[in-house]
C-alpha cells in the first residue's frame, strides 16, 4: 500500500512513471518520496481508483510520461505487470532509467534491452541516500522536475541520517541501509558487538522507510527494550530521536541527525 505522504502526480507537465513490484515497497517508496520532496513529478500505481480498468490506466499514464523509471528486482522480474510496463516503455521509445535493486541474472534478451538504457546498480550503492543523490544528478530526469532547476541545488529540507550511539564505547554507528542488522556475529550482521555474550548472533534489525527508521527483533534471547519497554518479537516499532535501545546488557542511543547537503 502506498505511503500516505506520497501522491501520484496528475497534470500536464512531464512526469516520471515509476514502475516497481509492491513487494519492494520498503525500498522504492522512500526513493519516490525523496524525488517528490525535491519537486519531481512522479506517477505510480497508487493513483488507481477502485473500479478503474488497471491496464488502461497504466497504459495511459505510461504513454504520457516523460521518463520511465523502473526498479528492477527479483520480484519485479517475476511480475507480469512489471515486465509488461517495461516492454511497453521500450516499444514506446520512452526515456528510461533502470534502478537495479538486486543482483539478478537477466536473459540475453533483457540484457540487450538494458544495454542502451541508463542504469543504476543500487545493490552496489549501499544506501538509499546515495541512490537519491545519483538520481538528482541525472540530466534525463530534469524535465520532470521544477522548471527553474537547471542545476541541482540542494534543498533546505534536511536529509535524515540515523545513527546508533553505543554507550559503552561512545562509538557512533550509521544505519546505512534498509535491513541493517546488529548482533554478536560479524558474518551475519552489519554491525557486530563481538565481546558481549548477552547479545544474540543476530539481535536487532533496522528498517528504513518513508516514516523514518523502525526496529525489529531477530528472535533474540534477551529481547530488545526501547525506553525500558520490551519490544515483542513479532513487532516493528518506529524509533524517535534519543530513544534508548537495550540489547542484552548493551545500550544504544538512537540518533536522528538532520543535515543539509553541501
Amino acid at each position: 500500500m502506498p505511503n500516505n505522504a506520497l501522491l501520484p502526480y496528475e497534470g500536464n507537465e512531464p512526469y516520471i512513471f515509476a514502475s516497481y513490484c509492491h513487494e519492494d515497497n520498503d525500498r522504492v517508496l522512500p526513493v519516490l518520496s525523496f524525488l517528490q520532496r525535491n519537486d519531481y513529478r512522479v506517477w505510480f500505481d497508487g493513483g488507481i481508483q477502485a473500479g478503474e480498468d488497471w491496464p488502461e490506466v497504466i497504459a495511459n499514464h505510461l504513454s504520457s510520461c516523460g521518463v520511465f523509471l523502473a526498479f528492477l528486482s527479483a520480484a519485479s522480474l517475476r511480475s507480469h505487470n512489471c515486465r509488461r510496463e517495461f516492454n511497453f516503455a521500450i516499444m514506446e521509445n520512452k526515456k528510461c532509467v533502470i534502478i537495479q535493486l538486486d543482483d539478478v541474472k537477466l536473459t540475453p534478451v533483457m540484457r540487450m534491452q538494458m544495454a542502451t538504457l541508463q542504469a543504476i546498480q543500487h545493490f552496489d550503492a549501499g544506501n538509499v541516500e546515495y541512490l537519491c543523490k545519483q538520481l538528482l544528478d541525472l540530466e534525463i530526469l530534469r524535465e520532470c522536475g521544477a522548471e527553474d532547476k537547471t542545476v541541482y541545488v540542494p534543498r533546505h529540507r534536511a536529509m535524515q541520517r540515523y545513527f546508533l550511539l553505543r554507550r559503552t564505547t561512545g562509538e557512533r554507528i550509521p544505519i546505512t541501509h534498509n535491513h541493517f542488522k546488529v548482533g554478536r556475529k560479524s558474518e551475519l550482521c552489519d554491525y557486530a558487538v563481538t565481546d558481549n555474550r548477552t547479545m544474540s548472533k543476530e539481535h536487532a534489525i533496522f528498517f528504513l522507510n518513508e516514516s523514518g527508521c523502525a526496529i525489529g527483533d531477530c528472535g533474540s534471547l534477551n529481547h530488545i527494550y526501547i525506553n525500558d519497554t520490551e519490544l515483542p518479537h513479532d513487532e516493528k516499532r518506529n524509533l524517535a530521536n534519543d530513544d534508548l535501545i537495550e540489547m542484552g546488557s548493551e545500550q544504544f542511543l538512537f540518533i536522528v541527525d538532520e543535515t543539509t547537503s553541501a
Partner: protein, 124 residues
C-alpha cells in the same frame, strides 16, 4: 499457482515448487535473427513468462524464430502471446516471425484453432 523463475546462462527456466522444470526458453542470437528454443509445456504458469520474453525479444530484434520441437502443449494465453507478437512485428519493416517444428498436440492445436494460417510455420 506459484512457480520459480531461474536464468542460467542463456536459458530461462520455469519450474514448480518441487523443482520440476515446466518450461524453458533458450535464447540464441544467430546474427540475423533471435532464435528462441522452447521446451516443455506452455501452461498458464509459464505463458506469462513466455509472453514477457517474446515481447522483450521483439523489441530488440525484428527477426524472430521460435523452435517448438520440444514443446508438448500450448495454452490459449500462449497462443495470444504469439498473435500479439505477430501483429507487432507486422508493423515493423523488414521483420520476420517464424514458428518452426510444431509437433503432436501443439500442431493439432494450431490446426484446430486456425492459427496455422496466421503464422509463417516451417519445418527445419
Amino acid at each position: 499457482m506459484s512457480h520459480k523463475r531461474v536464468v542460467e546462462g542463456n536459458e530461462l527456466i520455469i519450474s514448480d515448487d518441487s523443482g520440476r522444470t515446466l518450461f524453458s526458453l533458450r535464447e540464441e542470437d544467430t546474427g540475423g535473427a533471435m532464435r528462441l528454443i522452447l521446451s516443455g509445456e506452455i501452461t498458464l504458469d509459464a505463458a506469462h513468462e513466455f509472453e514477457d520474453e517474446l515481447v522483450s525479444a521483439s523489441t530488440v530484434c525484428k527477426n524472430l524464430e521460435l523452435d517448438f520441437s520440444d514443446v508438448s502443449f500450448i495454452c490459449s494465453t500462449g497462443l495470444k502471446a504469439l498473435l500479439a507478437t505477430q501483429q507487432f512485428l507486422d508493423k515493423e519493416p523488414h521483420s520476420s516471425f517464424v514458428l518452426q517444428n510444431l509437433r503432436g498436440d501443439v500442431a493439432r492445436t494450431f490446426r484446430e484453432t486456425g492459427f496455422i494460417d496466421l503464422f509463417d510455420i516451417r519445418e527445419q
